[in-house]
Subunit: 406 residues, 2 copies
């Protein structure tokens, strides 16, 4: 049994919808048992958000969820019709009908339980179930939406509940790459990455598959396969790190230009100052990513942190409001940065990886402004304009230019 | 308590949606308890049908219903959002959530029962329930669609189940008229018609409100009020014929050009011939409206009947196939006809109405080709090109030109 999730671009129009149906029909014909999860078609979710914005300022969550879930409903029923045309018996199921039980947090509900009785009944009857992604029903019987990208989570949760052999996430790219192929032409598709590597890549700026679905898959041991609905070739497996898995020192190089840096300079170096600053930022729901505090020499210190670009103004404002209280000499906002990260499970056991990274950047004449590390990730903040050059140099230095070169 | 149904044109875009919300807010503020039923926005249902046609040839009913009901879902959630903006607590409900239980006949499900527990709970909590029209859930827990125009039926059924004081059907015209105002400029809005008159007007070609909803309202004693969501002025009440109701002899003149005539000429006049013909037509699901059999003088007779234009070719074919068996001398199809009907509860007790109608048409030089009657309706078939002139002359002759002139 395979849970197969098709993203919005995979079912963007009638022709692509029929292509997906044709593929699912072949999967069934070759003897596998497909359970399909489908996102809303193309830009449908954006279109629904737009009309909501035109009708309402308040946009209450309960009604937004009722509205947005119409998108997957449309896609799932159309896909079933296309399957019927090919002689494949198929039934569509809303999140509620599929037994996806969530909490009541509208617009970003969390899955509490999956009770796929109707899905199992459909499978037992030899039918292909097609489930609307990113939707569920709360314990209060309200329609809920899991949030953007929630279809991945639906697929993984269903795969777990049904005990599927794997969860395939079909998208418009053929898998997870060693670097962005637009930046590094020699970047290659990774055939396997561990959950942990994928999560670090997500954190470092790789948007797909969603971090949430990878976390869920890791927690429940669901094997993920990220692959293309355009070429149908095998993609990237995301699974438990095993002895059989090739141990790359570094698997991928990821850059992210979505963050900006704020520096609070000349702060008095005493306990509680950093806490005050970051509590104030957290209270305004600002997602702080990296934090660096320089060594204090003269009783004062500089605190730098990164935030998403859209939060930069607010973060700067909050820091300015606290300037006198923390005794800072100045607040500096810098939108012109990028993070460059190397990720690899092999880093754990290979000393000197960080030294290599710093040397490569130094050779390129690229200045490192901040550094952050985890067991399998190493991130440097550099000037935004130098990110692409840094990625290319690191990709080469860690031997990723050769297909399967790790 | 008022059940208020808003048709597709009433919520066609964001601005009209906000207008409806504003109106519902006023209704609540003046102390009435509104229960809203809403159709899909503008041409949404047509758009969904179109994309289904592009994706699938077979279009299975279960999936069509899942698809089409996305339309009302979108409208109902958006309307709730607009109500929230105005400070009105409102919750949307699918047909299933509203307790509309239907049979399993997809694409044209029939309501079996309405169990509006959640609607009552919302009302008790001081909230405005907004229900998706034309949808329900089957006893097999499948999503069902009641068919085009089914929102009227949802509204009437809810009004009955909730014991509402009236069911208001808001549309893009200000009510039911004594004749089509495009044909007869002096036509006036009727302030009241009986269920029976409305049903006869439906049968004679008046499309709104749907016959099905009027039948339901009549059977369950629900008072209907057809009115405009553009001007908000009082419209036409459709209710039980009472002693207090003004007894017009003739309430309205209705023309219909959607039918064509078939004549089977020179048929042997013996029992069972007509039965054979109309059984064959019924077997092919052809809706025969009027039937006329001329007096037989020489052992043979002519049988004429009317059918919808789209069924003309098939009806002609069926009659031709039977030509030898019934001994007919010829089959003639005539697409160029119209029916002109006068409707009025007063006709029952006023003899001579038919004579007046025939005289008026004769004075106009309009030939009558077929006649059909009921207790409160009189219909003549005339040449299509003469229908407008017939309507205007009859409207004047029966005193309908004066506002409230009956």
């Amino acid at each position: 049994m395979l849970v197969q999730k098709f993203g919005g671009s995979s079912v963007a129009d009638a022709e692509r919808m029929r292509n997906v149906a044709d593929y699912v029909a072949r999967v069934q014909r070759r003897g596998d048992q497909p359970v399909v999860v489908v996102s809303a078609m193309g830009h449908e979710t954006d279109d629904l958000m737009e009309i909501a914005g035109k009708v309402s300022r308040t946009r209450p969550g309960r009604e937004m969820d009722m509205l947005i879930t119409a998108g997957e409903r449309k896609a799932m029923s159309l896909l079933c019709m296309a399957l019927h045309d090919l002689g494949v018996a198929a039934d569509s199921f809303t999140g509620s009908q599929a037994g996806v039980v969530t909490n009541g947090e509208h617009t970003k509900a969390k899955i509490l339980d999956v009770r796929p009785d109707r899905i199992r009944a459909a499978l037992d009857a030899g039918r292909v179930p097609v489930v609307g992604g990113a939707q569920g029903v709360s314990v209060e019987r309200e329609v809920t939406f899991l949030g953007r990208g929630g279809s991945d989570t639906t697929a993984v949760a269903l795969a777990k509940a049904l005990g599927a052999d794997a969860c395939e996430l079909y998208t418009d790219v053929p898998g997870v790459f060693s670097a962005d192929p637009r930046v590094v032409p020699s970047a290659h598709r990774l055939s396997k990455v561990s959950y942990e590597e994928m999560l670090e890549m997500n954190a470092a700026g790789c948007p797909k598959p969603t971090m949430r679905s990878v976390e869920f898959a890791r927690a429940h041991g669901v094997r993920l396969h990220v692959r293309s609905s355009f070429t149908w070739e095998p993609g990237t497996w995301i699974e438990k790190e095993g002895s059989a898995m090739e141990q790359a020192i570094v698997s991928a190089v990821v850059a992210d230009q979505s963050e900006a840096k704020v520096t609070v300079a000349g702060v008095i170096d005493r306990p509680g100052i950093a806490a005050k600053l970051f509590r104030a930022l957290a209270d305004k729901l600002i997602n702080v990513d990296m934090i660096e505090q320089n060594v204090s020499l003269h009783g004062t210190t500089d605190i730098s942190f990164t935030v998403p670009h859209e939060d930069l103004e607010l973060a700067k404002q909050i820091a300015s409001d606290l300037q006198n209280e923390v005794g800072a000499t100045g607040i500096y906002a810098d939108p012109d940065i990028a993070t460059v990260s190397i990720i690899g499970a092999g880093m754990r056991t290979h000393p000197g990886v960080s030294a290599t990274m710093f040397e490569v950047l130094a050779t390129e004449g690229i200045n490192i402004e901040m550094i952050s590390t985890s067991a399998i990730r190493l991130t440097c903040v550099v000037r935004a304009g130098e990110a692409d050059r840094a990625v290319a140099a690191l990709h080469k230095a860690f031997g990723l230019d050769r297909e399967g070169g790790y």
